[in-house]
């Protein structure tokens, strides 16, 4: 095993150990388990944004729409149809993913800033629908009441509703599933093609790669991951909120990805952790937390465009 491979293995083992033991090391440091759960879910969302942004080189600034749709899909399932956590997850993932894929057909021919603008504008459609259709969605007050249900595994029942630690491990399990699929896709020939499009779209086209179709597939996959994360978020809060679909939420996801490091697989998770902890802290100490979050955007762009992991990696290479 080469040194490079060994280093990678150590990093991955360290990440999973940290995640597995989070309920034990977070409280002594002043955190709480539910905060860890939020980091996992928002981190998964940021990784899904980065699946498109960092690995295909396509900037979608409306991804909160698919996240929010996932949350509403999950919530509606639990509230109106069936009291089942897995069914809720499936409903949310399918709702956001399918709608994302459909609208994706209109979007994928655009590039660069135009792509970003169209995704922002389309994302807002769902915000308005969730906001206006009060009879179904609860409008501005959000969708409630619904709650995640205990898991029946056949041989045992896991109470994820009242046991925060059990719920954390449930979310970690769901997170691991998604991350495994994501990693598998990125290692596949398809994932390599995504990188080729990112590096040089014209050359990829000359090689006979159907660029539009690949971008559409990457976009749709990323929408499914996003909706899955959104469904989990509905379970975290037992609540779905129109603001979860708003473009400012999309901005949060993109900044998490950029702050952590767009070019690395785990970067967005780190970015999400920093962002969530910072926001949690700021909103408890000042009412002007919006300014500080805005300032964070400005500072990251001006001084950390490669993200935290990018800086670390460059230092270690130099």
């Amino acid at each position: 095993m080469s040194g490079e491979q060994a280093r990678k293995l150590i990093v991955i083992v360290a990440i999973w150990l940290l995640l597995l033991l989070a309920p034990y090391w977070m409280p002594p440091l002043g955190g709480y388990t539910a905060l860890g759960t939020r980091v996992l879910v928002l981190g998964l969302a940021a990784m899904s944004v980065n699946f498109l942004l960092g690995f295909t080189g396509v900037l979608s600034f409306g991804h909160a729409a698919w996240f929010g749709l996932g949350a509403y899909g999950c919530g509606l399932m639990l509230k109106f149809v069936a009291l089942s956590t897995p069914l809720g997850l499936i409903a949310g993932t399918v709702l956001g993913g399918v709608l994302g894929g459909l609208l994706g057909t209109l979007i994928v021919r655009r590039r660069g800033v135009y792509f970003a603008m169209v995704t922002i504008a389309f994302g807002q459609v769902f915000y308005y629908i969730a906001f206006q259709w009060s009879s179904l969605t609860g409008g501005d007050d959000g969708l409630r009441p619904f709650s995640r249900q205990p898991l029946h595994l056949g041989f045992a029942t896991v109470d994820i509703l009242s046991d925060a630690t059990a719920f954390y491990y449930f979310v970690l399990f769901c997170f691991a599933l998604a991350v495994a699929v994501m990693g598998f896709i990125l290692r596949s020939p398809f994932g390599r093609t995504m990188l080729a499009i990112r590096e040089n779209e014209r050359r990829a086209r000359f090689l006979g790669i159907p660029v539009e179709r690949h971008i559409w597939i990457a976009f749709t996959l990323s929408c499914f991951f996003m909706a899955y994360a959104g469904s989990l978020y509905a379970l975290v809060n037992n609540f779905a909120d129109p603001r979860g679909l708003h473009y400012s939420q999309s901005g949060d996801f993109v900044i998490m990805a950029v702050m952590g490091g767009m070019r690395s697989f785990w970067g967005p998770l780190l970015g999400a952790a920093v962002f969530v902890v910072l926001q949690d802290y700021l909103s408890s100490v000042t009412i002007n937390w919006m300014s500080f979050v805005g300032l964070l955007f400005v500072l990251v762009v001006l001084f950390f465009p490669r993200g935290l992991l990018g800086v670390i990696r460059r230092k270690s290479e130099a």
């Binding site: 942004l53 900037l59 600034f61 209109l106 979007i107 021919r109 655009r110 590039r111 660069g112 800033v113 135009y114 970003a116 603008m117 169209v118 922002i120 504008a121 389309f122 807002q124 459609v125 308005y128 629908i129 206006q132 473009y247 901005g251 993109v254 900044i255 950029v258 002007n288 919006m290 300014s291 979050v293 805005g294 300032l295 964070l296 955007f297 400005v298 990251v300 762009v301 001006l302 465009p305």
Partner: protein, 289 residues
């Protein structure tokens, strides 16, 4: 019914002219510098609050003259310090930076002027309805439309006949060649940015007279302006003009027949346009697509 229809179409046109003013500024900056200025709504708010602050001293007319250039100066400073370092980089970065800036501006105005709405007093003769039958057409509304028409005409003349305008248009098509011909591209971008922000500041003053001021009002106008640009076609200012008026009238009409959809209709319009004509109504193939 006729009255209701006329009322809503006029309303839509008036709102449309607002969108046009905002979207033209956004479009100018987008075309030349490839920057999606998320803080554009923020500059509208700044313009409005500057007008609110100076109206007691210089009156409404003075504010209308002074506030927009002051906003443009603030915009110029922001461009110099924050946005200029990002020109060579992926548009993602300027997008994120202006996004953060929008937060700071909204929070900042709330901090300075308070979260409560503020009224701006307009001259009494402008506040009168013009006729009894069409009570909704106040002098101020007509005046707003006249100002917008005047400014838009001026802008198009500037772009068509002045050296600055010709350079801006040329830079939109091929900035590298313009630079090679000895034009200082940095100055060009700064001036262009300032013109865009001037338009945002002007919208702010005009909006303040009609609706009063709130720190959050910028975010509400931003999305329709985006849609106006997409519908009209990225890269075409005439398209932006058309797009703004079109979505204004469409949402006005929707308010008559299906009030809940007056916001959604813009998005439907955008989806239809993208489906039939992916580059937008007047967008040219190959321009930023």
């Amino acid at each position: 019914m006729t009255q209701l229809l006329v009322f809503n179409i006029t309303n839509g046109l008036i709102i449309g002219t607002f969108y046009v003013l905002m979207a033209l500024g956004l479009s100018l900056i987008l075309n030349l510098s490839n920057v999606i200025n998320f803080a554009h709504g923020g500059f509208l708010v700044i313009g409005g609050y500057i007008a609110y602050t100076i109206t007691p001293y210089v009156g409404f007319w003075g504010a209308l003259l002074i506030a927009p250039p002051l906003t443009a100066v603030i915009g110029l400073a922001v461009e110099r310090v924050l946005i200029r370092p990002l020109y060579g980089r992926d548009p993602l970065y300027s997008l994120l930076l202006t996004f953060g800036l929008a937060f700071i501006i909204e929070d900042g105005t709330r901090f300075i002027w308070g979260a409560q709405g503020k009224p701006v007093t307009i001259p009494a003769f402008l506040a009168q309805p013009l006729s009894y039958e069409f009570f909704f057409i106040t002098g101020y509304r007509l005046f707003m439309v006249a100002v917008v028409l005047f400014i838009v005409a001026l802008l198009f003349l500037l772009l068509r006949y002045t050296r600055l305008g010709i350079r801006i248009r040329a830079g939109t098509l091929d900035l590298e060649t313009v630079s090679a011909l000895g034009v200082n591209v940095r100055t060009l971008r700064s001036l262009n940015f300032a013109v865009g922000i001037y338009l945002a500041g002007l919208s702010g003053v005009l909006a303040a007279g009609q609706l009063g001021l709130e720190p959050t009002m910028g975010a509400g106008v931003l999305m329709p302006s985006f849609i106006a640009i997409i519908v009209g076609g990225v890269g075409s200012l005439t398209g932006t003009l058309l797009g703004g008026l079109l979505i204004g009238v469409a949402s006005g009409l929707a308010a008559v027949f299906l009030p809940a959809a007056s916001e959604a209709i813009m998005y439907v319009l955008m989806a239809v346009v993208l489906l039939i004509r992916p580059r937008g109504l007047l967008g040219e193939e190959g321009m930023m697509t």
